[in-house]
């Protein structure tokens, strides 16, 4: 096996789940194809990747692939509502039995509120709160200035709070 593939399997493939998570949040119906495209594109351009953490770079590719897919599928408008399909979800840290019933519907509402955010706000929120990227890493992934990350994140939180807290 050649050196590039070895490096790719060590540095990029471990983030397959993270790439898939972002793709699911961007385009639930096309996550499989988007991730496959993205990982192949990533592999082809892997020689150009220099850095310690491949995640911001991978997320940028996932997002570009998602946009390409959206471009191809234009006209078939869809509101992403994750949680209903067959993608494997990481189980949440186990809640106590008494919290489970209330927890499930609460989580569904949270998912719906995040899914309802416009794409650019949803993406910063996912990258910051689920993937825990720094502003700089998010700026790299989205190809925007750090100041834009900051203001989008602030806006995303305000919108999420409104959407989630308001019944």
């Amino acid at each position: 096996m050649d050196e590039r593939r070895r490096r790719f399997e060590a540095q990029a493939l471990p983030h397959l789940d993270a790439a898939y998570n972002l793709a699911r949040w961007l385009a639930p119906a096309h996550a499989d194809d988007i991730v496959q495209d993205a990982m192949l594109r990533a592999f082809r351009s892997f020689d150009g990747f220099r850095g310690a953490d491949a995640r911001p770079w991978l997320f940028a590719i996932v997002r570009n692939c998602a946009r390409d897919h959206a471009g191809r599928a234009r006209g078939r408008a869809q509101v992403p509502l994750p949680g209903e399909e067959d993608g494997a979800a990481l189980p949440d840290p186990a809640p106590g039995p008494e919290q489970q019933a209330a927890g499930a519907s609460e989580r569904r509402r949270l998912d719906a509120a995040i899914a309802a955010l416009p794409e650019e706000f949803r993406t910063v929120l996912i990258l910051r709160e689920l993937e825990e990227l720094s502003y700089r890493e998010i700026a790299l992934a989205l190809d925007v200035p750090v100041g834009t990350v900051m203001s989008r994140l602030s806006r995303a939180r305000a919108m999420l709070k409104d959407g989630w807290m308001t019944p």
Binding site: D17, A31, P93, K161
Partner: protein
């Protein structure tokens, strides 16, 4: 309700400040109710999202497709099995195929066939038709598809993780193939009956080890060093004894 320092408070809550900047921002929270509330709200929302929002994991089928696509990209542009065929006249090829069907292959030619089949699966797919690390899923999948029941065992703890299986052919005989992952390598274990040949060989960088056990033929193939393949074969054979 908002304070002119709200941006600094956001940076603090998101862990973007350090050292003296972080200390100053924290000190500000003590005296500013608006920023203290904003800080708590950002943290609470983040905690709620991490605890409650869906975190999707790539399904096995996606992982398999990605690995296959990457493996195909990484393989030589012109596969040696294609190159080998293209240089041979059609009649010579037909004669060779007829001979191959009539004569049981030696360990050497068997190694060629196995390496060809393995590379073809890596390049063209399908590498995995049933993707699972659970032998209770993989073993029954072969039932009704092939007239043998391959031993299926996961050796993840020993460094060879079961990924799934597929149907393939060796010399025109149907074979059950179990697919394992060993670090960055894919290990295929072919199980069929027909060849009755044993031995080890290296073909184009692929180590092949074949043996016969009971009424079944086995061949393991991988692009890892032969010593690592031997380790895998030991595990498989230990399992049958």
């Amino acid at each position: 309700m908002s304070c002119t320092e709200h941006e600094r408070t956001q940076l603090l809550a998101d862990g973007e400040l350090s050292g003296e900047d972080a200390r100053a921002a924290r000190a500000h929270l003590n005296g500013c109710a608006a920023c203290a509330a904003q800080f708590a709200e950002i943290r609470a929302l983040g905690d709620a999202v991490r605890a409650g929002a869906m975190r999707y994991r790539a399904p096995a089928r996606v992982a398999a497709r990605v690995r296959k696509a990457v493996a195909a990209e990484g393989a030589p542009r012109r596969g040696f099995w294609l190159g080998a065929a293209s240089g041979v006249g059609a009649s010579a090829l037909a004669a060779a195929l007829a001979l191959a069907v009539l004569l049981p292959p030696s360990a050497e030619t068997l190694a060629d066939r196995i390496a060809d089949s393995h590379v073809k699966a890596m390049m063209q797919g399908p590498l995995i038709e049933v993707a699972s690390s659970d032998h209770h899923t993989v073993k029954p999948w072969f039932a009704g598809k092939i007239d043998l029941s391959p031993p299926v065992k996961d050796f993840k703890a020993q460094g060879f993780a079961l990924q799934g299986g597929r149907l393939d052919h060796v010399d025109g005989y149907p074979a059950a193939v179990l697919v394992y992952r060993h670090g960055g390598h894919v290990v295929d274990l072919y199980v069929w009956h027909g060849a009755r040949a044993a031995g080890t060989a290296t073909r184009h960088g692929y180590a092949v080890q074949s043996w016969v056990s009971g009424d079944l033929d086995y061949s393991a193939v991988c692009d890892a060093p032969p010593s690592e393949l031997r380790q895998f074969v030991k595990l498989v054979r230990g399992e049958e004894d």
